[in-house]
Symmetry: C2
Subunit: 213 residues, 2 copies
DNA sequence: TTTTTTCTCCGTCCCATGACGGATCAGAAA
DNA sequence: TTTCTGATCCGTCATGGGACGGAGAAAAAA
């Protein structure tokens, strides 16, 4: 029999860790080398555990999965990381792929799919969940109006989304109110919204300034 | 030895179901009678499984946990339902308790806590997760400014949060623009915000109109 | 090089917005 | 009954917000 595949899990749900551990124990060719309950903990201990494959949750209290993925791959690019997240959180897919994750599964995936994905990752093959893949292709040619904004306009939009007035924005950016109004008008036409309130709503609905951009 | 406690799990994550099942199998006095992958499925099959305790996830694709909790307890009030959710989703705690759930756990809870909660629920004792409890007490005397709003004002605020102008709101509610402005001003003073944009931001940050209210 | 595009900046004009005051009506408390 | 409180409604008025036009500078294209 060949060498076992060394697998590590990073998830802040104890029951998920205990559960997946118990389930993977039934697989002869998989060896459970350890687990971490947060992204930061994973970065600290993965080298000692020396897993070949890391199952990584995204949303965790202490250090998110994307950051942990980056750091781990920086230290050891040979690690194969499978993202295993609860929801296809809108625009977390791109950052995860960019961070170097090999596969992207939803927790709604069946246990068999997870095992299959582990084997495929072991052979260097990528698996992307169907729903996530749809997001990807629709987002590939992402003509997001937001990306049409200039640097200055993005700054202004963020301040709008924080509830700032034009005068406040002018003070914060050390420019005239009239100039702010120009940027604001430009933002409206690019985002195809009518006023600053709709622009702020757009920012919130697209999670623009809540995470990494 | 006494009768085993009959337990059923409702969760749309296959790995959580398989995992918890494997883990609970180590408990002598707990019997796993079945599982459902959605709220609606749970309502359909719980009677046949005849569990004593139901572990219920909240966020599911097909029929959420709160609705399922209500329906199950309507059919059989003797069932003891333990909410087992991923995040303390802001204001889902109240509806869950109102629906008749006996306990409220987070999935970050340790497996031992879950087992302990099952035993306590079996003896009729309620367990509320610490973080959730904090939310509860801070929410008990919930001086949320939002609750200070009148019915009409809530309607207006929702339309503001949808990006509507005063004129559009007037048309939608069949009242004059001046009247709308009065409501709008009243909303601002109660929410302690300066303009409609900040009001919309308030609505989004408090998840006001995204779920049941 | 010149030309064109783009980004950033500032000005003028008009209207929706929001502050303030007041009227009407309904229900509760005296 | 009267009184009081609060919800809903409409008026007047000053101002911030948004549309439009344009200038200078720098980068890209010719």
């Amino acid at each position: 029999m060949t060498e076992k595949i060394r697998v590590m899990l990073v998830d802040d749900h104890d029951m998920v860790r205990k559960g997946l551990k118990a389930y993977l124990a039934t697989e002869e060719s998989i060896e459970w080398v350890g687990e971490a309950s947060s992204g930061n903990e994973a970065v600290r201990i993965f080298a000692a555990l020396n897993p070949e494959i890391i199952l990584m949750d995204l949303i965790m209290e202490d250090g998110d999965g994307i950051e942990a993925t980056k750091q781990i791959l920086t230290q050891d690019p040979s690690k194969k990381i499978i993202i295993l997240t609860s929801f296809y959180d809108d625009e977390q897919v791109f950052p995860a792929i960019e961070a170097g994750a090999m596969s992207y599964l939803l927790k709604t995936a069946s246990s068999d799919e997870i095992i299959e994905t582990i084997y495929k990752a072991h052979r260097g093959k990528t698996v992307i969940d169907g729903k996530v893949a749809q997001k990807l292709v629709s987002g590939m040619h992402r003509n997001r109006p937001f990306d049409q904004l200039t640097t200055r306009e993005k700054e202004v939009l963020q301040l709008i989304a924080e509830g700032k007035s034009n005068a406040e924005i002018a003070d914060l950016l050390f420019i005239g109110i009239k100039t702010v109004k120009t940027h604001v008008s430009s933002i409206f036409s690019k985002l195809e919204v009518a006023d600053r309130t709709q622009a702020a709503i757009y920012a919130f609905q697209n999670h623009l300034f809540t995470k990494h951009n």
